[in-house]
């Protein structure tokens, strides 16, 4: 009881002195602000990228591709193999009773971004049934492409990145003129530029004869295990089935890995610098209060309440930095579009990131305050009182 009372008094004394030591206090606040702001902003890239990529993922959607392929882009699905996939068990049927299976072939088309940078987009050739498989896709202009014609539809993102992607435009792809007949939104996430066209037309245009993958919608997510078993039961197919989420996550893995590594690498260094700055400021604060602390010790204040009070002061001073840092990061960067490493997404500063920032600040405060708190408790009473 006595200890908590002493602690309360000490903490109040510490905090009342804040205005008198504004420079040192500001050092702690600004150091933490910068550390938390940078960490939260950098992590917001990875969070934004993942949020957009996983925005439309559903547990009842399955991707089927060659069992020896490293990823879906390298997979090749011959038509005779593909023809057997709709007979696998557990596949949902659409309103007219047909299994919801879409075969997909991707072809990369080189193009110049509006910014002048060289790049390109993927034309995805799909067999009929796209709207059954992707109900989240809704047309904002024009209509769907007609099978057999050189027609394509482009997501609204395309029109912002490249020229000539509005419904009604014409696009030159691989020696022939294609009509852009519609624009669409990819559901909740804005995502990358996505272009859909008829699978057979894409195959003949790009002189291919195999699909890359089959997209299958199951009756329910619970059917997944049975479906995978059925795929495995026929080794002659050379196929494997994975959740849509796993495919997306795998495609994201490299980008996410790099972004997270860079974020925590940079974040840790800045946090270390902020911790050292905080420790230095607190040492100076403790030094300037030597006589005061010695007097308190002489009056019978214990070492533990002093340590606790200085540590608390350090943490209390670090917290506003966390709040300001997270707020600044949110105000400056939330929703800002970024396109590092050939991907494109919006930064997302989420409450979870802000909380992480607060945790980071608590650590900076606690670690930075530890040694100065020990020194405060060890002030040699007689020497300090005698000093001028």
């Amino acid at each position: 009881m006595r200890l908590t009372k002493q602690y309360g008094v000490l903490l109040r004394m510490s905090l009342m002195g804040v205005t008198a030591r504004l420079g040192l206090v500001l050092t702690i606040v600004i150091g933490v602000t910068c550390a938390v702001g940078v960490l939260v902003s950098m992590l917001a890239m990875g969070v934004g990228a993942r949020r957009e990529a996983l925005g439309n993922v559903r547990p009842d959607r399955v991707v089927v591709y060659s069992s020896d392929a490293q990823n879906t882009q390298q997979s090749s699905l011959a038509k005779d193999v593909a023809a057997q996939i709709p007979y696998l068990p557990g596949i949902r049927r659409n309103a007219s009773g047909k299994p919801i299976v879409v075969f997909l072939v991707g072809a990369f088309v080189q193009a110049r971004y509006k910014s002048g940078r060289e790049g390109g987009f993927l034309v995805l050739g799909v067999t009929p049934g796209l709207t059954d498989y992707r109900p989240e896709l809704h047309m904002t202009a024009g209509r769907l492409f007609t099978p057999g014609l050189h027609e394509l539809i482009a997501s609204n993102k395309c029109a912002t990145q490249f020229e000539n992607f509005r419904a009604g435009d014409r696009k030159h792809v691989r020696g022939s003129d294609w009509a852009v007949v519609g624009n669409f939104d990819n559901g909740t996430a804005v995502g990358l530029c996505t272009v859909y066209a008829d699978a057979e037309t894409v195959l003949s245009t790009f002189a291919r004869n195999t699909y890359n993958e089959a997209d299958v919608m199951l009756e329910s997510a619970g059917q997944f295990a049975a479906f995978v078993d059925a795929v495995k039961a026929n080794p002659a197919l050379h196929l494997k089935a994975e959740h849509e989420a796993d495919i997306v996550a795998e495609n994201m893995q490299q980008l996410n890995g790099i972004l997270n590594f860079v974020s925590f690498f940079v974040g840790t260094i800045i946090a270390l610098a902020a911790t050292i700055g905080a420790a230095n400021s607190l040492y100076a604060i403790v030094d300037s209060r030597r006589r005061e602390l010695a007097t308190l010790r002489a009056l019978g204040f214990g070492a533990v309440p002093i340590i606790a009070a200085i540590l608390s002061e350090s943490i209390v001073l670090a917290l506003p930095g966390a709040v300001i840092g997270a707020l600044v990061s949110w105000a400056l960067f939330n929703g800002l579009s970024a396109s590092p490493l050939n991907s494109s997404f919006h930064l997302a500063v989420t409450p979870a990131l802000a909380l992480l920032g607060v945790g980071w600040a608590l650590a900076i405060g606690a670690i930075g305050g530890f040694l100065p708190a020990l020194r405060a408790a060890r002030v040699p009473v007689t020497a300090a009182l005698r000093a001028t």
Partner: protein, 381 residues
Amino acid sequence: MKYLPLIWSGIWRKPGRTALILLQVALGFALFGVLQGMKSGVERSIANTRADVLYVGPGVFGGTPLPISYADRLKSIAGVKTVLAADGIPTSYQNPKQFVFVLGIVPTDDYLTLLPDIFQVEPKALHALRDTRNGALITQDIGKKYGWHVGDRIPLTSSVLKTDGSGTWDFQIVGMMTDHETGEGGFIVTNYTYLDESRASNKGTVRNFYVVASDPMHAGEVSSAIDRAFTNSPNETQTQSFRELRQQQLQSIGDLNFAIRSIVSAVLVALLFSTAAMMMQSIRERSPELAVLKTLGFSDRSVYAMVVAEGIVVCVVAALVGLALATGVFPYASKFVPGLSMPSDVIGLGVVGAVFIALISAALPASKAARLPVVEALAGR
């Protein structure tokens, strides 16, 4: 010169505090060095990539490959010195996650001198490759990764099938080569004829040609002449110099410029406040000593200069330590961006930045020290 001991003792008046400040500033500049060095390193790496080596590929990515007969037509184009053909198949070793790219070349002596930008090889290894139909050259990295040695026979699995319908390709390791850039998965080099004769489809085609222009200054013209020569043919080409390709590959890092600038400014602002607050505190504690100096005849200006000099010494020494740390980190950073090293101009920029921080953060404490009223300071008020 006579001020040096004074400045020195000023700096070490509180050794703990100075050590912490040094450490903090060093950390800040280590970060600055890594980020800024990455940015400049990328720019320099682009400038150092050869512009006279051209990559001739199909006009459409993933489209049908080019016929090998194009080699003769390419040689006849004005300004072309050498034409080399290359093809490759994606394979994996033991499981699909262990990706190995197999590059098939025609092992002419041109590879000894012309294209160190792709890989470097000793004549003995190149000749061994020429003599072994399914021979392969490996890098030290990939050999260590999978435990391969010269003389080993390795089976690789590919989605590219052979004429007998199987996807298993055998290679005989006959020698070593040095990869110009340490790539992620790494690749091995084999004979183009082995690849082409064994595969079931796309026979007589190549993924790309390497064309070396005789005059680097006119490589751009050669590049457009090549693409013009094949327009409206069934296989249109797209020709780009290695430098252009490198630029596209590293563009994404360039897109991070904004982030790098933001981080570097946040760090510098934090350092500025920190050093300023610490110097202010130091001046406050030292006011009786400074008053003694003034009593002894030191002018306001020399007191000002001494305080500023202390700041500069601390910041510059710390910055140098930090930049040295950053230089030490660079071999690891080159994992993400092959061929990076610390550019010397970044070190210069860092030192200038350190002086700048010292000047700004010392301004207020120094003028306070200069204007110190001697009588009151001596009285301890």
